[in-house]
């Protein structure tokens, strides 16, 4: 299978800040590819470069076989781009926005109706409402509709679910799965780790660098240490108690419990329980768990500065 998108050594500076620093990856045709990263990781800059809106200072990117620098016009007609910020016309109605984007791409809503029908039926009851008055979830659906209306081969979705309620997020990802089945390649960024597992492959972006790139299960395999979930009635005190424990590698609150890794290869559970008891925490339950994507992400970020320091 050929690649829908290839980048080599992308570097982008804004003043002295390096928003992207040597990003190289490729997305296969028909893939649902996730870019995971915190705010300021460089996700939006990456998307803007791929959408031909920004030129990289170094490196190159090829989208659908076209160079983003030389053949940007060809790319623009073939790509559906959804910026991170809601960027539709707030004073136009739902139907007017959709019509407008269909017309400027030289098509019509009718011609693409089969593609957007599933989303459009949800928007239909509000079709005369101004886009600015829609709820967060509805806005994102409309933006997706507008990005799809010219039947793009590749969707570039920059944080489409940020600020959207949980139910709408689920629906949104179900739609993405459907478009992937129709053969549309999708590159999507998100700060939510739970969404990452829904991607075919994903990449971690941190401070302009790619830390890891693999399938969701491949990513979690990067997590080598045994991971434990520790819970007790007084959960809020566990983290501080564990951080003063001499064998602790990491301890952070995660959902209902505290995720813990040990510096030793085989931790001594009894010693751990005894330490917590000495800190006045009783009724401790320790279970070994499979690391999730977020655990992997956190451990990768923690390793990163340590790796950097020797180089200065």
């Amino acid at each position: 299978m050929s690649d829908a998108l290839v980048t080599e050594g992308l570097l982008k500076r804004f003043g002295k800040v390096e928003a992207l620093n040597g990003v190289a990856f490729s997305v296969r045709q028909g893939e649902l590819f996730g870019i995971i990263g915190a705010d300021g990781a460089g996700k939006t800059t990456l998307f803007r470069i791929l959408a031909t809106l920004l030129l990289p200072d170094e490196g190159r990117a090829e989208v659908l076989g076209f160079d983003t620098r030389a053949s940007y016009r060809q790319i623009r007609t073939r790509v559906g781009y959804m910026p991170g910020r809601f960027s539709l016309y707030q004073d136009l109605s739902v139907a007017e926005n959709l019509d407008f984007f269909a017309t400027v791409f030289g098509t019509s809503v009718e011609k693409s109706y089969d593609l957007i029908r599933d989303i459009y039926v949800q928007l239909e009851p509000f079709k005369n409402r101004k886009a600015g008055q829609l709820s967060g979830g509805m806005k994102q659906k409309l933006a997706l509709c507008c990005a799809l209306v010219h039947r793009p081969e590749l969707l570039l979705l920059d944080e489409p679910t940020t600020g959207v309620d949980a139910v709408s997020r689920d629906e949104f990802w179900q739609m993405l799965q459907r478009f992937r089945q129709l053969g549309i390649t999708i590159l999507v960024s998100t700060p939510y780790m739970d969404e990452a597992s829904l991607c075919d492959r994903l990449a971690f972006l941190q401070l302009g660098k790619m830390l890891a790139l693999d399938t969701p299960s491949g990513i979690t395999n990067l997590f080598r240490k045994p991971l434990y979930a520790i819970s007790a009635d007084e959960k809020h005190r566990i983290v501080s108690a564990l951080r003063s424990f001499q064998h602790t590698a990491s301890a952070y609150a995660f959902g209902d419990s505290v995720h813990y890794t040990d510096l030793r290869d085989v931790p001594d559970e009894q010693e751990l329980i005894a330490w917590l008891a000495s800190k006045g925490i009783s009724d401790v339950r320790i279970t070994r768990i499979r690391p999730g994507i977020e655990d992997t992400f956190i451990s990768l970020i923690e390793q990163e500065p340590a790796r950097e320091q020797p180089h200065g």
């Binding site: 809106l53 030129l55 940007y72 910026p83 960027s87 539709l88 019509d99 407008f100 017309t103 030289g106």
Partner: protein, 365 residues
């Protein structure tokens, strides 16, 4: 073409949806014209007049009658001594006191020189100057009618006794220039920078609309809007204030279209070098509106400016447009007399447009 029309339609939606702005844009020409036409006029009517006649002869009697008959001077006090003048002013009974010196007719005959004093309220210099001019003018007329040689009072020929019309004559062309600058340049620059601010410019760029399509698409709606304003102003000036259009009205409208284009291209130029609505507005106001009011000859004649300002006024489009409108409406001039100004505006428009299209970035900065 269909893409382009879709874009233009969207622009019209923006204008219509923003009801407040739309209302201002359409109501502004009407309000401003009424304001300039009625309130801000240089003519003075119904001047409360006091007469102090120290001579009481035939000439002073006839002159008094003549003054009061003009309609400008309303008799409100007959004074008998100079001491009463200050009181009359202080109490607000009079705006002007006309004083005939003693032995007026006699001195007129023998010395061919008599004293007619026009005492006005110096705290309102504008009114003072005009009232003095009127009085002198009336006196001059009278003396000429009576066949007195070389009268002692020099009449001011500028006063034509048609209050209410003359200032509108002067204001209408300037007002048109001002309105077109405001609507065309400011509104387009704001509307483009708004797209930059709201992020919709990102989507417009990736939509593969050509820069020229976006720019022309922004121009067309405001061109229409401004043209409606021109027609409103011209019609009001002609039918409400009776300003004549002595030249070709078609030429006037064509020249106005040209000026609108100049202003629009300036607006687009502003928007290509700024990224926020506020900055665009500040530049439009400070960089376009003020020079249009102050340096175009709208209020202060260009010829009476110091030479550096005269030089600057050359690059202000409104200056040339003013010459065109005054030429066509008031002097009945045609293209034969006005081709130079027309060419200047065309050249400016082409220059601004070219720079705008060149500078319009197809990427984000």
């Amino acid at each position: 073409m269909r893409r382009f029309l879709g874009f233009v339609r969207k622009e019209f939606f923006h204008i219509i949806r923003d009801r407040r702005t739309a209302a201002i844009l359409f109501a502004m020409p009407i309000l401003q014209l009424l304001l300039f036409g009625y309130a801000i006029r240089n003519e003075v009517t119904e001047v409360r007049t006091g007469i102090l006649d120290l001579s009481h002869d035939v000439v002073t009697q006839e002159l008094t009658d003549k003054l009061l008959a003009s309609g400008t001077f309303i008799p409100s006090a007959i004074l008998s001594s100079e001491q009463q003048i200050a009181d009359a002013f202080a109490s607000g009974r009079v705006n002007v006191v006309v004083v005939f010196g003693p032995r007026f007719a006699e001195r007129m005959l023998h010395d061919q020189k008599a004293e007619l004093q026009v005492v006005t309220d110096g705290s309102d210099p504008n009114v003072s100057r005009i009232v003095t001019g009127y009085a002198a003018s009336v006196a001059g007329d009278y003396l000429r009618d009576k066949g007195y040689p070389s009268p002692g009072i020099v009449p001011l020929p500028v006063m034509m006794f048609n209050p209410g019309l003359k200032s509108v004559y002067l204001f209408v062309p300037g007002l048109m220039a001002l309105l077109l600058m405001l609507v065309s340049a400011m509104m387009t620059s704001i509307s483009i920078t708004r797209e930059k601010e709201s992020g919709t410019m990102e989507l417009l760029l990736v939509s593969s609309l050509r820069p020229i399509q976006v720019i022309v698409g922004k121009v067309v709606p405001y061109l229409t809007l401004s043209f409606i304003n021109v027609i409103t102003v011209v019609l009001m000036a002609m039918f409400i204030f009776g300003v004549p259009c002595r030249g070709s009205i078609v030429l006037l409208l064509l020249e106005s279209l040209l000026f609108i284009l100049t202003a629009l291209s300036l607006g687009i130029l502003i928007s290509t070098i700024t990224s926020s609505q506020q900055v665009a507005m500040m530049i439009s106001l400070a960089g376009l509106l003020l020079p249009t009011v102050l340096l175009s000859g709208f209020i202060f004649p260009v010829t009476s400016m110091p030479w550096p300002l005269q030089l600057i006024s050359n690059i202000i489009p409104a200056r040339w447009y003013l010459v065109l409108v005054r030429g066509i409406m008031l002097k009945g001039a045609g293209l034969a007399e006005l081709w130079k100004e027309t060419l200047v505006l065309i050249a400016m428009t082409v220059l601004f447009m070219t720079v705008s299209v060149r500078k319009f970035s197809e990427r984000l900065q």
